[in-house]
Structure formats: structure tokens, C-alpha cells
């Protein structure tokens, strides 16, 4: 079994943790950008230097208890499909997957993944299902301290952690929440919310990060500023806004359910019906219908304990995942057929949609 197959098969934080999933916030993520002192950044380093950087970082990471029995994946040794699976799971970025000299060190439970030789030497990432800003930060902080103990990191007293790009220097911290906002989208308020967040220094992106569309009404909200604010202040700022967005989302949902009445339930019921009978299902169609099912679970129209299954289908319905599960390359029709089969199978014993209780 290859490491990537192992990752796909393993029960993990985002797809299997029954009960950890929450309404609205799918996951919390912390990213820290770090570099080795005295070494050129990956984009400017020569091949032998990148090799040295990679060896030193992997050695240090491998020694940490957090990564015991984890995975060390060198991008140059993986096939296209395996790398695409890692991107779809947010374990590595598209940029890391596109290069040959990058690597990823991933903890057994897939909550921690460190990208080596991406734009910076080290990109520490910690992800937890649901909204857990403090807990997620605490894990990242411990990892950072452990790495700082074994590696000499590039740091300046005035500018903090030195990074390849000026947009990351200082704390190197990008804190984000993956939020599911069907209420605000259906009510047509998303542009307004997005603008307000942008104006207060937060970025709003689609499901797969920079430059991607918000399939399934899922957005990633993160801080922009990394310098001149303490980690504490950055987390507080993001936390305050997420709380606000979650409240606005609930208001939009309740208003919608109340004003639309039967129409609201009908929309969710139709999505379940379509997902249960479609023979061909495109990726974006699946995402948008699954978004309705997640909304139904949040609102009490479907049992809440089914929510983790919806989350799993959102992740496993992506193109590379569908092919990896099939164990073969599939053309577009083949993928749509396979996706429809997987979804149909998973939703077979779902109960009917009932009027909202939330």
C-alpha cells in the first residue's frame, strides 16, 4: 500500500470524526511559515541546496513525537493522481504538488502536515474539524517550539520570522476557518459580507484556497496581516469576525426557512432526491447538492449525526479522490458515473427531509 492509499484509507479528523463536526464551521486551520537561517529560499535555491534543506527539515520533523508512524512524502516520487489527492485534502498546496523538490511530512491522524520547500522552507499546518481556534493554535505553537529547538530558524528582532514573501513576514501566521455559508449565499448577502471582511484585513477564498471558486457555498476566511500584530491579536481579530459571520449565517438561514416555508424544505428534499437517483454527477453539482444536505443536517431537517458523512462526501467526491477510489484513471464521464455511484450508495439509507427544528 502506498502512503497516499494509506492516507485515503485511514480514519481521520476531517472525514470520520463522528461528533466533532459542527454547523457552519467545517474546520479551523493554522499555518506558520518558517525558514532555516543562512539558506536561500526554495524559489531561489539551487537544486543541491534544496536537497540539503529538504534533508535537514525532514530529519528534524521525523524526530518529533507528533510525526511518529506518520508519512514522509517526496513530491518527485509520487504520481500525478496521488499528488492531486493530497491537494484535494488540503494536506499540500497546488504549488508544492507542482514542483519536484518539495516534500510533505504528515502526522498519522492527518491533523498536522508540514510542507518542505514550498515557497518557504517550512510551512507548518494544523487542522481540526469544527471551530477550535485556541486548540489548533496550541498544537501549532508546540510544533513550532519543538522545531525551533532543533533547527536554527531565520529570525530578525525587528521583522520577526523571515519569509520569502513580504506578505508572510513577522509571525508567518495564517489562521483560517473553512465556513459553509448557504444561508448568506441564498439570501444574496455574500458579496456584502466578503467586502466587509476584506476591508477589515481578512481574505475570503473558495474551497481550495487562492483563486478558486466557492463550490458548495464553502469559503475560507483568513487573516492577511502577519506583521506588527501579535499572534494573540491576529487570532482574536479572526475569532471575532468568525463569530459574527456564523451569527449572520444563522440569521439568514432562519429568515429563509421562515419566509420560504415549504419551498425551503422542498429545495433540500429535491437535492437529496437528486443525489440519491443521479447516474452521472459532476463535481460542482455534487458540491452544491451536498451543501443543501449539510444545511439540512444543521437545521434539523436531517439527523445531525449524518453531517460527518456529508463532509466526507464533499472531500471524497473530488476528481482525484474518485479516481483513487476506483483505482484507475477515468475520463470525465467515468468520473461522473463513479461519483454518482459512491454518493447513491452512501445516501441509500438516509431518512427523508423533514421541516426545520433549528
Amino acid at each position: 500500500m502506498s502512503s497516499v492509499e494509506d492516507i485515503l484509507a485511514a480514519e481521520n479528523e476531517l472525514t470520520h470524526l463522528l461528533g466533532a463536526q459542527q454547523a457552519v464551521v467545517l474546520s479551523t486551520r493554522i499555518r506558520l511559515a518558517r525558514n532555516l537561517d543562512g539558506m536561500p529560499f526554495p524559489g531561489w535555491a539551487k537544486l543541491p541546496q534544496r536537497k540539503e534543506i529538504s534533508d535537514r527539515c525532514i530529519e528534524a520533523l521525523d524526530a518529533l513525537p507528533k510525526f511518529r508512524r506518520g508519512h514522509v512524502l517526496r513530491m518527485g516520487e509520487l504520481g500525478d493522481r496521488d499528488r492531486a489527492v493530497l491537494v484535494e485534502r488540503h494536506l499540500v498546496s497546488k504549488e508544492l504538488a507542482a514542483g519536484k523538490s518539495g516534500a510533505a511530512v504528515i502526522s498519522r491522524d492527518q491533523t498536522c502536515s508540514v510542507m518542505v520547500n514550498e515557497e518557504d522552507h517550512l510551512r507548518i499546518q494544523v487542522v481540526k474539524a469544527g471551530w477550535h481556534l485556541r486548540g489548533t493554535w496550541h498544537i501549532a505553537e508546540l510544533l513550532d517550539d519543538a522545531l525551533g529547538g532543533s533547527l536554527k530558524l531565520a529570525f530578525s528582532d525587528r521583522l520577526g520570522y523571515l519569509t520569502a514573501c513580504p506578505t508572510n513576514v513577522g509571525t508567518g501566521l495564517r489562521a483560517s476557518a473553512m465556513v459553509h455559508l448557504p444561508g448568506l449565499c441564498l439570501a444574496g448577502h455574500m458579496d456584502k459580507v466578503s467586502r466587509a471582511l476584506n476591508q477589515d484585513g481578512l481574505a475570503v477564498r473558495g474551497w481550495l484556497g487562492e483563486g478558486t471558486e466557492a463550490a458548495g457555498n464553502v469559503f475560507q476566511i483568513s487573516n492577511q496581516q502577519t506583521l506588527g500584530l501579535s499572534e494573540e491579536a491576529i487570532l482574536k481579530h479572526l475569532g471575532g469576525w468568525i463569530k459574527n459571520v456564523v451569527e449572520q449565517e444563522w440569521n439568514a438561514r432562519r429568515k429563509l426557512a421562515q419566509e420560504e416555508g415549504e419551498k425551503f424544505v422542498d429545495r433540500l428534499a429535491r437535492s437529496l432526491g437528486l443525489l440519491r437517483s443521479a447516474r452521472l454527477l459532476t463535481s460542482s453539482e455534487a458540491m452544491n447538492m451536498l451543501s443543501h444536505l449539510r444545511l439540512a443536517c444543521d437545521m434539523g431537517c436531517l439527523p445531525e449525526e449524518r453531517r460527518h458523512l456529508v463532509d466526507r462526501l464533499m472531500i471524497e467526491g473530488q476528481p482525484a479522490h474518485v479516481q483513487a477510489r476506483a483505482g484507475q484513471e477515468l475520463d470525465s464521464d467515468g468520473r461522473d458515473r463513479r461519483r454518482a455511484t459512491v454518493v447513491r450508495e452512501a445516501l441509500k439509507d438516509f431518512p427523508e427531509v423533514v421541516p426545520p427544528t433549528a
Binding site: W44, G148, P166, T167, T171, G201, L227, S230
Partner: protein, 160 residues
Amino acid sequence: MSQPIKCSLCEEAATVHLSQVVHGNVTKVHLCEACAQKGGATDPAVFQLADALTTSSPAPTLSCPKCGFTDIDFRKRGRLGCPSCWETFGDALDGLLLKVQHEASHVGRTPAGTLPTGQLRRRLDAARLEMEKAITAEDYESAARLRDEIAGLEKQLAPA
């Protein structure tokens, strides 16, 4: 016909023209299709970086003694060559940092094992907030105690 406007991030012809208001400052940027998609035209940081790269006046050519990276390279790539480049291009980068980050100095944590200035700074941040709160609540006794603590922390953090 007039010369086409070039992309702020590469040399391609710009087809996406944007203005954005962030913290009350208007920024304008021109991007080619590829950079607009890649950078996310809605991402304020990328946006301001592109803006800073086009509007900052060309500096005399600087080269990093450690890795050979030049300011021309920076203009092309928007990324630096090595940690020492931050020192080499320090002055030139300060203006850019103020645009992209609105600040030019770090107040967060420090690597484990070095001086715990990060902790002192964190406490300083917190103490300042607490003092504001105490003043609002007219709790002048606490405010005075916090004022003394802040003065002490500032002294410890001042460069020797």
C-alpha cells in the same frame, strides 16, 4: 494606438484593471489574466503587493552579498532570495511593508531558546488593553498598577 498597460506582476499585457479601498486607501492594479487568476484578484495582500511593486520608484540596483539576489529579481518575482535579503533590501522594503502589512516591525513570538521578548511583548499588548479597559471602567487603581507594569516592560524591550 496607445501602448497596452503591462501586468503589475509580470510583463504580459494587463486585461484586468482593479481599484480597491482598504483601510481608506485607494489602490489600483493592473493584472494579466494568468496573474489575476493565480493571485486571486480579490486577495487584498496580493493586490497591494502588486500595487507597491508598480508605484514604488525604481531603487538603484542592490545585490544581496549572501545569495546574489538583486532588486530587479524582486520586481520580477515578488519573493526574496534568502533571509539576508531582508537586511540588504531593508530600507527599500520598509515602504512596501507599510503598504502590504500596515506595520514594519514584529511584535509576536520568537524562536524557542532565544530571548523571551515575544512573551514580554505579548504581556505588553495585553497590559495595554487591560489598562484601557480599566480606565473605561474608571478603575484607576488597576490602571496605575498596569501603567507601571507597562513602563517596566517597555524598558526591558528597549534596544540596549
